[in-house]
């Protein structure tokens, strides 16, 4: 029995690996996750990176030396503005330019409100962050001077500020980054489904459609051995996809400024190993269910449609978890897909787990695959399945 299953396994894998197009698709999907990950993180980092000094071109620096000193003290890098700064701002190569008029000093000394201009293009999203920083710095300077003037006249500055609006930005880079990070378990679980999908639909529905199922079943091999061999081949593809996804993340994570975003995530070799241990058992269950569905489908096309729909199943808990993390309870580990997503997430966040949740999740996946394989073997004993239904 074991030898026969091995024969079927080797044939299926060899046959499948010769199908370049489907192998290429199988390779593309696992790499999709890490690529999305890298792009998102680099975008986030470029939006939020605070340690980069604000570069502010100024026209008429010499008119306001104390303001310039203030700005420089708070980290702004001041440069001479180019002649054509207005067109450059419109073109988007400059974010903002500070213009200090000639009469600034006179107005200032005489106690009038001195004006400076911040030249911006408010329709430009990418400039928004620099503009905001420049505005805040300038307002802070104005506030400071105002306070000093009131003090000089013996008045508490609070009197002039009946209400102070403090902005509490909930969309911190940490939170957004954590959201992106929650996609990692989802992509790992998806890989467990995507990796074996092609092989599963080809090895059962495709086998019947080609007319090679009947000859295959004419061998004295038990149905169980045939199903087992085909299942193991599907599992191999799924496991390959999961491992490839993990390697992809490991490679990508070095090029991603996680610390800049203040993200607390472990993505070293032990963490990757933990995630592999968490997600790989799911390949058993996913492949077995795919095989069952593929055996039941009337045609190759129908099998592919069903299996694509099956891919939505891991997306549902994944989406929910990515949007609103839930309080993990022990029973959740026993739910295939949900269990793996939770485990991978906890491992990534560096939570100490102990072996029990891993065992629970693996055992429930194993039980599910035994069940699906039984069903598949039983289906193969039915004449209407073997010979097809019109």
């Amino acid at each position: 029995m074991r030898r026969l299953a091995g024969t079927v396994f080797r044939k299926e894998l060899r046959d499948h690996l010769r199908d370049r197009r489907s192998v290429l698709t199988a390779l593309m999907f696992p790499l999709l996750g890490p690529v999305v990950f890298m792009v998102m993180f680099n975008l986030l980092a470029s939006w939020y990176r605070q340690d980069r000094p604000l570069e502010l071109p100024v026209v008429g620096r010499e008119h306001a030396p104390s303001l310039m000193a203030f700005l420089e003290r708070y980290g702004a890098k001041l440069v001479e503005a180019p002649e054509d700064y207005e067109s450059r701002i419109r073109a988007g190569t400059l974010d903002a330019v500070l213009v200090v008029p000639e009469d600034y000093g006179r107005q200032f000394s005489s106690g009038h409100t001195a004006r400076v201009q911040l030249v911006v293009d408010s329709s430009r999203q990418s400039a928004r962050h620099s503009v905001l920083r420049a505005q805040r710095l300038l307002e802070a300077y104005a506030q400071l001077l105002g306070d000093q003037r009131l003090y000089a006249r013996g008045i508490a500055p609070e009197l002039a500020i009946p209400v102070r609006v403090e902005e509490l930005d909930l969309s911190t880079p940490e939170r957004t980054a954590a959201g992106v990070l929650n996609m990692v378990p989802l992509f790992l679980v998806l890989a467990a489904f995507a990796g074996g999908m092609q092989l599963a639909s080809d090895t059962m529905a495709g086998e019947r459609e080609r007319g090679s199922l009947e000859p295959l079943l004419l061998n004295p091999a038990p149905r169980g051995a045939v199903v087992t061999g085909k299942w193991l081949a599907t599992v191999a593809m799924a496991a390959g996809a999961v491992l490839l996804t993990l390697v992809g993340y490991l490679l990508v994570v070095r090029r991603v400024p996680l610390e800049d975003l203040g993200v607390k995530a472990r993505f070293d070799a032990p963490a990757a190993l933990g995630m592999a241990v968490a997600v790989l058992p799911l390949c058993l269950a996913a492949s077995a269910v795919q095989l069952w569905v593929s055996t039941y489908a009337r045609s190759f096309k129908e099998a592919q449609t069903y299996l694509s729909l099956l891919m939505v199943v891991p997306m549902l808990p994944g989406m929910v978890l990515a949007l609103s993390p839930v309080q993990t309870k022990a029973w959740m580990f026993a739910v295939p897909v949900l269990g793996q997503e939770l485990l991978a997430g906890e491992v990534m966040r560096g939570e100490p787990l102990g072996p029990l949740p891993f065992l629970i999740a693996a055992a429930s996946s194993a039980a599910m695959s035994v069940l699906a394989l039984r069903f598949t073997t039983r289906l193969l004993a039915q004449e209407r399945i073997v010979f097809g239904r019109g």
Partner: protein
């Protein structure tokens, strides 16, 4: 030797095989002749264990196909109705795969596969992927994998269907050779000429029953007709597409 005993099979409300009994001896080519829809394929499928008879059974070298299907399959070489190939495997890999599933391995398997490639005259296609093979080449591959374990009983469902003259001749030569080796050969066909050219014994099936069973000469004698063709028409009651 294959013995069919009162085989009966219904699919829903349709009776595919009413009552079929016959014996196919070793060293004899037995033809199962009947018009389309007479129940030939279903009878064959019951003989090669993929369809379970509602009543009756069959014995392959004394092994009951209902009770011990796996042992029966071991004793059978079958060219079924469906003879699909794996487009990405070579002809040789097809034969090897089925040989391994029959428990062959190593040098014995290599030798047997080489033998079949020689016998079926497929040296030039043996190591090519089967994608794009002609009908004749496909049947050769299907025959090679069906015979790889050297079965003593060979069942072929419409083996020459869709083949050109050369391929048909190759199949006929193979069947005669199997007969000479003392195999029990049963093949089904709806083409009278095919059966007349090859068979030592003819079992005529119509409406799921055996309506005549004997040598071509005995058939002619029984019906009192000179040609086989007319003998068939007389037995079945109409020509029902048997003539080409």
């Amino acid at each position: 030797m294959i013995e069919a005993r009162n085989l009966h099979k219904r699919f829903g409300s349709v009776t595919a095989v009413e009552d079929v009994s016959f014996t196919a001896e070793d060293g004899v080519i037995t033809g199962l002749l009947g018009p389309n829809g007479a129940g030939k394929t279903t009878t064959m499928r019951m003989l090669y264990t993929l369809v379970r008879p509602d009543r009756g059974t069959a014995l392959v070298d004394g092994v009951d196909v209902v009770q011990r299907p796996e042992d029966a399959r071991r004793a059978l070489g079958v060219l079924p109705d469906a003879r699909g190939l794996y487009p990405r495997l070579t002809a040789r890999e097809h034969a090897r795969y089925f040989g391994e599933l029959h428990g062959l391995s190593g040098a014995a398997l290599d030798r047997r596969v080489d033998e079949l490639i020689e016998l079926l005259d497929m040296k030039d296609i043996a190591d090519r992927r089967t994608e794009g093979f002609s009908q004749g080449e496909r049947v050769k591959v299907a025959l090679a994998r069906a015979l790889v374990h050297g079965p003593r009983n060979v069942l072929l469902d419409e083996p020459t269907n869709g083949l050109d003259v050369m391929s048909t001749r190759a199949v006929r030569t193979l069947l005669r050779r199997l007969k000479a080796e003392g195999c029990c050969v049963v093949f089904s066909s709806h083409v009278m000429q095919e059966v007349a050219a090859l068979c030592d014994r003819i079992v005529v099936v119509a409406h799921g029953r055996v309506v005549a069973d004997g040598t071509p000469d005995a058939l002619r004698e029984r019906t009192g007709k000179d040609s086989l063709e007319e003998a068939f028409v007389a037995t079945i009651g109409s020509d029902m597409g048997l003539m080409q």
